[in-house]
């Protein structure tokens, strides 16, 4: 995954026109997505282990992250 991000950024350095910037933004988006995926993974593991208190904590973390996106969009 990280390698993919790196390749995307490298690709950009060879193409210094607008589309390159979009590719890099995609790469950055991927970086941001990684930890979110990790939290989702933790959530599913906790639910599977019937560890509902910690599953709830994971869900709260996810909610807060998405709230961050929402705030970003609203305050643009």
């Amino acid at each position: 995954m990280i390698a993919a991000g790196l390749v995307l950024s490298l690709f950009h350095e060879r193409t210094p026109f607008p589309t390159g910037a979009q590719v890099v933004t995609a790469g950055i988006g991927l970086f941001i997505l990684l930890p979110i995926l990790r939290v989702i993974l933790m959530l599913t593991i906790f639910v599977k282990e019937r560890d509902y208190k910690f599953a709830a904590a994971a869900a709260v973390v996810l909610l807060i992250i998405f709230a961050g996106f929402a705030i970003g969009i609203l305050s643009k």
């Binding site: 950024s9 930890p35 906790f46 807060i64």
Partner: protein, 286 residues
């Protein structure tokens, strides 16, 4: 933004995070000052770029810690509710706070890191622990980790969780505001409040930084603070730099570099304070 600038950004962040990595520190604390002072990058864009590189570094170094069973995942997720909430408040504040305040807070954090680097970390788990208190939920956070040096598992318990949560909220806030991992704030919080063993708190803090940074980076990205031509090369450079730095960390003695770093940190802090009060040595007037 031409290829030359990108190469320059790449090289600078490589250097910054190699330096950071040598002492096992996050790179963000060097990247923002260097970008704003020498790159003449707007502090908000610098913060946006830095937060991406924080994610990149934290993610790429988390795997070995998890494998070594050093990360307390349960504790991490509980504390993450506080850090992400803090990050959210930080993002909200970042929109309203004037840039000069940001410089000032950054200077304070730099000084704090310098002070922390001078003081040797004492292993809190080795200090006598208080008798068992707290509810069963807290107790389920207790865990153990394998200590290679002693060759056995060391059990530890988590103490004073509410206080720890509050400190984590603060750490998350600062992290989002300044685009740093703020391990500087997390690690002492875990050392002195939760009384975790050093290895566990380093690993768990690293694990949390990633998620905290993602919370603020998401908001910054949709808000347009993350400028791709800056953030791309910076993220790339800092990952490479962190790997190089970690390699070097194994092979050099620590004390002299530690001192050098304190000097660098204090110098950067001084520069940040100057910028905060409107005079800038490198740009004339801010």
């Amino acid at each position: 933004m031409n290829t030359g600038t990108e190469l320059w950004l790449f090289a600078v962040s490589l250097g910054a995070s190699a330096l950071g990595g040598m002492l096992g520190m996050a790179s963000g604390i060097f990247i923002v000052p260097v970008l704003t002072m020498f790159g003449h990058v707007d502090i908000r864009s610098a913060i946006g770029a830095s937060i991406v590189s924080v994610i990149a570094c934290s993610c790429s170094s988390a795997a070995p810690f998890l494998k070594g069973r050093l990360t307390n995942v349960r504790l991490a997720i509980v504390l993450e509710t506080a850090t992400t909430a803090g990050a959210l408040s930080g993002v909200l504040l970042a929109g309203t706070i004037p840039a000069s305040y940001l410089f000032f807070i950054f200077g304070m954090i730099l000084l704090l890191s310098a002070q922390q680097m001078l003081a040797k970390r004492r292993d809190p788990a080795l200090a006598p622990t208080q008798p068992l208190t707290g509810r069963s939920t807290t107790r389920r956070l207790d865990s153990s980790y394998p200590d290679r040096a002693l060759g056995r598992d060391i059990a530890y318990r988590v103490e004073r969780l509410p206080m720890g949560m509050m400190l984590m909220y603060g750490a998350g806030l600062i992290s989002a505001l300044l685009g740093i991992g703020s391990g500087v704030l997390k690690v002492p919080a875990m050392d002195t409040t939760l009384r975790l063993p050093i290895k566990v708190s380093s690993a768990t803090s690293n694990f949390m930084i990633c998620v905290t940074a993602a919370a603020s980076a998401g908001a910054y990205l949709v808000r347009g603070y993350i400028v791709a031509p800056i953030a791309g090369p910076v993220a790339l450079g800092s990952v490479v730099g962190a790997i190089l730095g970690a390699r070097v960390l194994m092979s050099i003695s620590n004390d002299r570099i530690r001192l050098l770093f304190v000097v660098v940190l204090v110098a950067l802090a001084a520069q940040m304070f100057l910028a905060a009060f409107g005079t800038d040595l490198f740009r004339g007037t801010a």
